[in-house]
Symmetry: C2
Subunit: 184 residues, 2 copies
DNA sequence: TATCCCATGTAACGAGTTACATGATTCT
DNA sequence: AGAATCATGTAACTCGTTACATGGGATA
């Protein structure tokens, strides 16, 4: 079985920095990754599953007189699994379901799959987003009249959000192009 | 136990229009509510739970020779439960977790709790969103240097998304004010 | 010594996913 | 007659939530 979204988040974080379960919990409670729960009932079982699948390995820190801490590191198989996840094509369903997981994937790309994959991702993201915005606009145009006011406004909010992300994707692409010119 | 998010979505839709499970599945697959799964394994058990809690009641449609369809209607207790959900204050956690549930709540307000509640919601939403954007900006300013490029860009995408929603909330408020002038 | 933070875990429960199952009706 | 669609449901499985449990080390 492939990991859950939380599992991939842990994998991505551990690739950047080997950490204990407690460290990861703090990351989830103190950084923009608050979208994830920091509850021990989620983190520790998820870590155990990843370890059972040999995607990470935990070693008890043999520090001088410190409390016991288990530090997890990503294995080669873990890196491979992470790459597989990051390299998945961007499909319409991903963007329709809110696209949070897509942004998580993008956030972990640097250092794991490189600029080429990131650029490919941004291009297909822009394409799928644009197409989805069109669908939503058509729906709005067709149902505008029968929709209750708050329902219509909520839909407009969603559309604006997706449009903002399209613009962002173009800017992000430009940023990558600039970085590439500097050190290709 | 109070209903899940899916349960509230069903409650909100059924308040607008009594429907069968199949109708609701189509709504979830063909409208912007695709964020929800349209799988029967989610919908039918959720409907059964709502019915057991007496929040909805289903009656077999005694139509002439049609296939059996069970039409669900919201009960008085269901309306009360929906109102309770809609009238909950907007807290920081709601916006930090992405805010999708907040927009769902707003979408169902018209006809269920009235303009006053909708306006109150928008005001507190704008306040919480603005405050959360500040938090994210501070985080970005402080960690910009150490963050990998894609991670930083992903965070910027999130910030832009929240900012877009702040602007939207102001526009939506203005829309309500205009509507109020027309027929107060 | 009392209290807080560090650090890890488990157990019961709820709910969604996936896949399977069933049968009636309409279309070709 | 066969296929597609309408329409409802169930069972196994996974995973996250909530709440509880434990104990060492630091701080007052």
């Amino acid at each position: 079985m492939s990991p859950s979204t939380l599992g991939y988040a842990l994998l991505g974080l551990l690739r950047e920095q080997p950490s204990s379960g407690y460290d990861l919990r703090k990351t989830f409670s103190l950084t923009p990754l608050v979208t994830f729960s920091d509850s021990p009932g989620a983190i520790y079982p998820a870590l155990r599953r990843l370890e059972e699948a040999r995607l990470i390995r935990g070693t008890i820190e043999d520090g001088s007189g410190l409390r016991r801490r288990k530090i997890f590191r990503v294995t080669a198989a873990g890196i491979a699994e992470l790459r597989k996840w990051l390299n998945q094509p961007v499909v319409r369903d991903d963007v329709a379901r809110g696209g949070d997981e897509l942004m998580l994937r993008f956030a972990f790309m640097d250092g794991a799959v490189g600029r080429v994959a990131a650029v490919r991702f941004l291009k297909s993201l822009e394409r799928e987003l644009s197409s989805y915005v069109s669908t939503l606009r058509e729906y709005l145009a067709e149902h505008r009249k029968e929709m209750p006011l708050s329902g219509r406004l909520a839909l407009e909010s969603g559309i604006r959000g997706y449009e903002t992300r399209v613009v962002w994707a173009r800017d992000a692409l430009a940023t990558y192009k600039r970085a590439q010119r500097k050190r290709p």
